[in-house]
């Protein structure tokens, strides 16, 4: 299972506590992971990626395995440790504003 850590505001919105676990078909990419996340939690549609363009929202970042994957292609395969569930995929609200 893929493990996803959401920022607190999105956990509240999706009414989940702790990590979210997703069953994502191979290949596991940012796009397929987020598609699966939004399918399970439709309320998250538009909050991480723009509804229309499907681009990552400006103040949302994607981290995993101590790397910033925000600028990776959405169709690039995610690190093996994320695919195997050893490491979580982190959706992070950027530090901006007050």
């Amino acid at each position: 299972m893929i493990r996803v850590v959401l920022p607190p505001h999105l956990r509240t919105l999706a009414r989940v506590a702790g990590e979210v676990e997703l069953d994502v078909q191979d290949p596991v990419t940012q796009r397929s992971l987020l598609d699966a996340l939004e399918a399970s939690y439709p309320v998250l549609r538009g909050t991480i990626r723009d509804h229309v363009t499907q681009q990552r929202r400006a103040f949302v970042r994607f981290f995993a395995c101590s790397e910033d994957l925000s600028h990776e292609s959405p169709d690039a395969r995610l690190p093996e440790a994320v695919v195997t569930g050893t490491e979580p995929f982190l959706v992070v609200g950027a530090i901006a504003g007050g």
Partner: protein, 392 residues
């Protein structure tokens, strides 16, 4: 005995305040949607327990919330948890997609940007939600970049009324300092297909065919800050108010100037009269006296706080021109707050209650039409909107 419910949107959440008809003691619940900007919360005239809230964030965008029990519990229409991907309706309640060209997928029109170039419409947030007068599941949304959307399924899906943005003047619209927002929506109770809207900084518009076509209604407005002060569009209208018994009479607080029309916007005349300054944001009409109106003047366009450190509501009982300061119970020294455009409302009791919220986080109420005031709460986050429901 009647009750009053005050719906407050702030920079960091929503609050619901209730009182009996005496309006002396208040129960306060919240923050709802803690940490999010709540631009507006409003109840359905057809079902007072149906509320809609605009929840937004610079990080995570727009969410629409709906309550069916007067704000005790909330849901995101169509956005619930599903255990079977693809087995439920999509969470589209936060999807505001402009009418687009099938070829390009981009909005059909452009507007003017600060640098004079043309730019496609881009959705930012919902500023104002206006539920239908007779159907709890129908609600209008005024958004930034300026456009009008409508939902007829309780906020789950939204469709643009593109005729407004498609008006010939659309390419000349440009943002004000607060963005290019559609912030005022007035539904005419005597003419179901007539809607008034106001946009900063384009001006006021009216449709008489339920949103298919629109007409700028800015004749009589005079704005020194635009190249042609009497242009058809380009005016920074801050707020318009209507009394439901006289929908052809509208009152406007513009960037500068307070104005009125007696012919549904065909022509306006200034009624600033003896106001100490005619810059301000909100304007509201007494529930039972259509010629009694309220404004909260602030110092100027460059100093967005009340003048002289005194929080003064001004009331006219003559439909404008002659104003009196209402100060009893309001701070009269060292006060430097503003009252934003959607942050004033009235109840329907007798005497009429008047309410407003400040950027300093106070919500004041008056149970005697403004003669005296008392704080309901003093220390909320900055108040973005105040609406009032009078419950049986």
């Amino acid at each position: 005995m009647s009750e009053v419910r005050v719906l407050v949107g702030t920079r960091k959440g929503a609050f619901v305040m209730t009182s009996d008809a005496r309006r002396q003691r208040w129960d306060v619940s919240g923050p709802h949607f803690a940490g999010w900007e709540i631009y507006h919360v409003k109840g359905s005239p057809a079902d007072p327990n149906r509320l809609y809230a605009s929840q937004s964030s610079g990080w995570f965008g727009q969410v629409i919330q709906r309550s069916s029990d007067g704000g005790r519990t909330w849901e995101t229409p169509g956005g619930g948890v599903t255990t079977s991907p693809g087995g439920m309706q999509a969470g589209e309640s936060n999807k505001f997609a402009y009418d687009t060209s099938p070829e390009t997928g981009k909005p059909l029109t452009t507007h003017q940007w600060y640098d004079g170039t043309q730019r496609p419409w881009e959705f930012k947030r919902v500023w104002h939600l206006e539920p239908s007068l007779d159907d709890p599941d129908t609600v209008y949304a005024g958004v930034e970049d300026a456009a009008l959307f409508r939902s007829s399924d309780g906020g789950q899906t939204w469709q643009e009324l593109p005729g407004l943005r498609g008006h010939d003047s659309g390419p000349s619209w440009q943002p004000g300092a607060g963005g290019m927002c559609l912030h005022t929506i007035l539904l005419d109770p005597s003419h179901p297909e007539r809607i008034f809207v106001a946009i900063s900084a384009a001006g006021a518009f009216r449709t008489d065919d339920a949103g298919k076509t629109w007409k700028p209604i800015n004749r009589g407005l005079h704005s020194q800050y635009i190249p042609n002060p009497t242009a058809e569009v380009g005016h920074c209208v801050h707020r318009i108010a209507m009394h439901p018994s006289r929908p052809n009479v509208l009152f406007m607080q513009k960037h500068w100037d307070v104005l009125r029309t007696d012919d549904a916007g065909e022509s306006w005349r200034e009624v600033s009269g003896n106001l100490p300054t005619d810059f301000g944001f909100p304007i509201e009409v007494h529930a039972h006296e259509p010629e009694t109106i309220y404004v909260v003047p602030i110092k100027s366009d460059s100093e967005h706080y009340v003048a002289d450190g005194k929080l003064r509501v001004y009331r006219s009982r003559t439909g404008g021109s002659e104003w009196e300061a209402l100060t009893k119970g309001l701070p009269q020294k060292d006060c430097y707050v503003n009252v934003l455009r959607d942050s004033m409302a009235v109840d329907a009791l007798d005497p009429c209650g008047v309410y407003f919220g400040t950027t300093g986080g106070q919500v004041y109420g008056s149970a005697d039409a403004g003669d005296s005031w008392a704080p309901i709460v003093r220390d909320l986050p900055a108040v973005l909107s105040v609406e009032v429901q009078t419950l049986p």
